[in-house]
């Protein structure tokens, strides 16, 4: 096979700090190449150079044997390179067809040639088995469908090389399965794929070859068959990790901390009841659209609830968000950027956000800046947040894992009784994931309850005392730790019912 893309001593520095160091690598045409590494290992920088988003400081790239120096994303596109970013590059106010053609509309007499555009889009969508009209607004598509639109865009450009950056973070298992089928198909058509992901099982399954980066250097490369997940982790972090999940250090206590009874909201939830005991980590599993995040929002008071009761520590939970926070709830939402953090504000300001009123001194609620600095500094240390000066560095500048630690830290400042963690490890690298798991364990050990919502079944079975499964807004059943079975849990998530008494008990 021929080499499609090669790097020769490629180097990129940001203000003198190298992000990619003298990397030399060949990508063979027709391969699926898995690229793994911790956050900050240089994966994104490397891909951004390929995609023309940034320019190398030194070294050379060659595309099909020719020197390749893209000055802009447009140059990369023109050569046949498609880059599917983690944050999808779609315009929600345009249709699918318009998104695919947005930089080069087919035109007739200066007008967009809609029939041609529609026809071409319909063909592409058919190839990807996406059964929606080309004129559908992207706004109304599910995340998985949006991803397919991005791929359709790549196919439309007849891309030789398609780069996927964390493509599965917002997909349901079913959508993920469809994505993998699509990737297989692309490969069969002779496309070359660079696949970047933190989900190492997926990488191993999909890839022909695996490339491991660490601190901007290529530390290992080889056939996928030669790697197993522990080996990949060892290569990534440069040492062996004890395991993917920390040992649980405590048992749930007997007293019920939180109970939900008969939660019903037409169109969203139907008669949802469950309990969480003090010191318990309750996993909540369900496919996208099963109502898991919706339920969390209702419990937290963000969305209306028509019927049903909630109680925390024996007291009924009512009122708006503020009242529920005061009662002892904490909510780490699934959308860290939009709902969790003040991205442009300093880390310290994020950490103090929830508890800010505690730092007010009468009469005018003057800030006790000394205590504020001490407490936020303490929290940074407790949470092992890797940052510079937390009083000046904005949250935006942190890695995904450290951002998530800031979000959890801001809630910890108020010592909540029940934590709702919605997809807390999304977009977080292996090392930080482990820290977040350990943190959940620490919370439980201290007597808090944790509702752990995730679409990664593996992490639920790894961490939880119990797993509850939802489907179409109903609780389908639950499993105790001893009875965890991937097959049964998935089956239930797809709608197979189990006696409810196993859960509510």
């Amino acid at each position: 096979m021929t080499t499609l893309l090669s790097f020769q001593d490629l180097r990129k520095e940001y203000f003198g700090v190298p992000a990619v160091r003298d990397l030399t690598l060949d990508i063979r045409a027709g391969d699926v190449v898995g690229v793994i590494g911790e956050n900050g290992a240089g994966k994104s920088t490397l891909m951004n150079m390929v995609g023309g988003v940034v320019q190398p400081t030194d070294g050379e790239m060659r595309w099909q044997g020719e020197p390749y120096r893209p000055r802009s994303p447009g140059d990369a596109t023109a050569r046949g390179i498609a880059f599917i970013h983690q944050e999808l590059n779609l315009f929600t106010n345009l249709t699918i067809a318009e998104n695919i053609f947005v930089d080069q509309f087919p035109s007739r007499f200066g007008m967009i040639d809609r029939p041609a555009m529609r026809q071409r889009t319909a063909d592409l969508l058919q190839q990807l088995a996406l059964d929606v009209s080309p004129d559908t607004d992207v706004d109304s598509l599910a995340p998985g469908e949006r991803q397919l639109v991005e791929i359709a865009k790549a196919l439309h450009r007849d891309a030789e090389l398609i780069i996927f950056d964390e493509p599965t973070t917002s997909l349901t298992p079913r959508e993920t399965a469809r994505l993998f089928e699509t990737i297989e198909r692309l490969k069969a058509d002779g496309k070359t794929i660079l696949y970047i992901s933190h989900i190492l099982g997926d990488v191993k399954r999909l890839s022909d070859a695996i490339v491991v980066l660490r601190d901007g250097e290529l530390v290992e490369q080889g056939a996928a068959a030669d790697f197993d997940v522990p080996a990949m982790i060892t290569a990534m972090i440069g040492r062996a990790l004890g395991g993917l999940y920390p040992e649980r250090t405590s048992e749930p206590r007997d007293d019920v901390l939180f109970s939900a009874r008969g939660l019903t909201q037409p169109g969203i939830l139907e008669d949802v009841s469950f309990d969480i005991r003090a010191g318990e980590i309750l996993g909540l599993f369900g496919l996208m659209g099963s109502g898991r995040s919706e339920m969390a929002r209702i419990v937290f008071g963000l969305d209306p609830l028509e019927r049903g009761t909630l109680a925390l520590q024996g007291r009924p939970l009512t009122g708006g968000v503020r009242q529920r926070i005061a009662s002892g709830l904490a909510f780490v939402t699934e959308d860290r950027r939009a709902e969790g953090l003040l991205m442009d504000a300093a880390i310290a300001d994020n950490l103090s956000l929830v508890a800010i009123e505690e730092f007010g001194r009468t009469p005018l609620a003057f800030l006790d800046k000394t205590r504020l600095a001490r407490r936020t500094g303490q929290m940074q240390a407790d949470m092992l947040i890797k940052a510079g000066d937390i009083r000046t560095q904005p949250a935006r500048a942190l890695s995904g894992g450290n951002q998530q630690k800031v979000v959890i830290g801001k809630w910890l400042m108020r010592h909540p009784a029940l934590f709702i963690l919605d997809e807390p490890t999304r977009g977080v690298d292996v090392g930080a994931k482990f820290e977040i798991y350990a943190l959940a364990d620490r919370l439980a050990a201290a007597g808090s309850g944790v509702l752990f919502i995730s679409s990664e079944l593996e992490e639920l079975t790894g961490m939880c005392d119990r797993i509850m499964v939802m489907n179409r807004g109903e609780v389908m059943g639950g499993f105790d730790r001893a009875a965890f079975s991937d097959r049964d849990i998935l089956a239930m998530a797809f709608g197979k019912r189990v006696p409810a008494d196993e859960v509510a008990a």
């Binding site: 940001y14 203000f15 937290f300 963000l302 968000v321 503020r322 926070i325 005061a326 909510f331 939402t333 939009a338 709902e339 969790g340 953090l341 003040l342 991205m343 442009d344 504000a345 300093a346 310290a348 300001d349 103090s352 956000l353 929830v354 800010i356 009123e357 730092f359 007010g360 005018l364 609620a365 003057f366 800030l367 800046k369 009083r391 000046t392 500048a397 801001k410």
Partner: protein
């Protein structure tokens, strides 16, 4: 959000070390929080040789006295911009509350002028307003003005916070309605004959300076220069209070949080609606205090105070200072410098004896030039930070 800027620069300016090169020091100056102040001072120094009157004590006193009312209003706008809002109704609040104050306090009024007005006979008549010559009346009138202003601001805030209506449209409508209402109240007329104690607030000197010969028995008024005045005292107090509020209180943090990410602030339990209502109320109260200063220096309650380009001056000065229109970024000290720059600009344009036809052109060009420097600066700051 955290106050970081000043420290490095202030110390850097005083030292004469071998270490930082001229270029580095210029850079630090350029990047500091005080940039707009330096820019204004540079502008001042460049023009002094050509406009000798610029540095006259009388002219300096003028620049300062012109600054105070605008500053008070711009301080209010700073709060609103910081939560990513905009308040177009400030000008109308200035006009409206100036009428409220004057109709309560006027010591007499002429039926020739006001007899058509709906307030005639109801609130004001030949003998003046209900608080004319009442001990403590001025204070009561000011309280009434502030209450009226606060109500308008709270109404803005309620519509914006509770019904999620866009601030631009809400305050635009308020501007139309309130200014029409003020004009309706007096049927276009201005209310004069304000009590001396009230006028003092807008014109009174506390400390004056005399630069002339010592021996003269009668000191000509034009050689006495206001040094510390009531408006200065009022404006500086408002600015300091606002600075403390924005920088050192829980409320201030909540304002920044909402301006940076309203959704995240809501989920973190910030009382978003309450803060928004308060911010618009503060903005209107600042406009009311501005009304106090404007109407007392003009010795009349005027429904049309704050009309026309006033609003553009207020927002322009605030934004030139560095406060962002997109929220999450604002400082009172920036606004002080922005206002200083704007007032200095008008003053110099006046002194240049430009034909009135040229003034608008020069003004436009200077605003763009200042904004350009700021763009350059922001780019450098970003470059250094990342």
């Amino acid at each position: 959000m955290t106050d970081s800027g000043p420290r490095a620069t202030v110390s850097g300016r005083d030292e004469f070390p071998a270490a930082p090169s001229v270029r580095q020091r210029a850079m630090r100056l350029f990047l500091s929080d005080y940039f707009v102040l330096y820019l204004s001072l540079a502008y001042f120094l460049v023009l002094v040789p050509f406009l000798p009157t610029l540095s006259n004590p009388a002219n300096l006193a003028n620049i300062l006295s012109n600054m105070w009312p605008l500053l008070v209003v711009a301080v209010g706008q700073t709060f609103v911009l910081t939560i990513a809002g905009i308040d177009l109704s400030q000008g109308s609040v200035v006009g409206f509350t100036s009428v409220i104050g004057a109709m309560l306090l006027a010591t007499s009024a002429s039926p020739d002028v006001l007899s058509n007005a709906p307030i005639w006979g109801l609130i004001i008549d030949e003998a003046g307003g209900p608080l004319a010559n009442v001990p403590g009346g001025v204070l009561v009138a000011i309280v009434a003005m502030v209450a009226a202003g606060a109500m308008i601001g709270a109404a803005n805030g309620l519509a914006i916070a509770h019904f999620r209506m866009p601030p631009f449209m809400v305050t635009l409508v308020t501007m139309i309605v309130i200014s029409a209402f003020a004009i309706f109240l007096t049927q276009s007329e201005n209310i004069r004959n304000l009590p001396e104690s009230y006028i003092q607030l807008g014109k009174g000197d506390i400390v004056s300076v005399y630069f002339g010969e010592q021996a003269e028995s009668r000191i000509p008024r034009r050689q006495i220069h206001s040094f510390i005045t009531y408006p200065m005292l009022i404006a500086v107090s408002v600015a300091i209070l606002a600075h403390v509020l924005l920088n050192s209180t829980v409320f201030g943090r909540q304002v920044f949080a909402i301006g940076t990410n309203r959704r995240a602030a809501e989920i973190s339990g910030i009382p978003v609606r309450r803060v928004i209502v308060l911010v618009f109320t503060i903005s209107a109260i600042c406009a009311t205090i501005g009304a106090l200063l404007y109407s007392t220096r003009l010795e009349a309650g005027r429904p049309t105070l704050g009309d026309g380009n006033f609003l553009l001056d207020v927002i322009g000065a605030t934004v030139i200072g560095g406060t962002s229109l997109f929220g999450g970024k604002g400082k009172i000290i920036w606004t002080v410098f922005g206002v200083f720059f704007f007032v200095l600009l008008s003053n110099t344009l006046n002194l240049m004896n430009l034909s009135s036809f040229h003034i608008d052109m020069v003004k436009g060009a200077v605003i763009v030039a200042a904004a350009l420097l700021d763009v350059l600066r922001t780019r450098l700051i970003r470059g250094e930070a990342s």
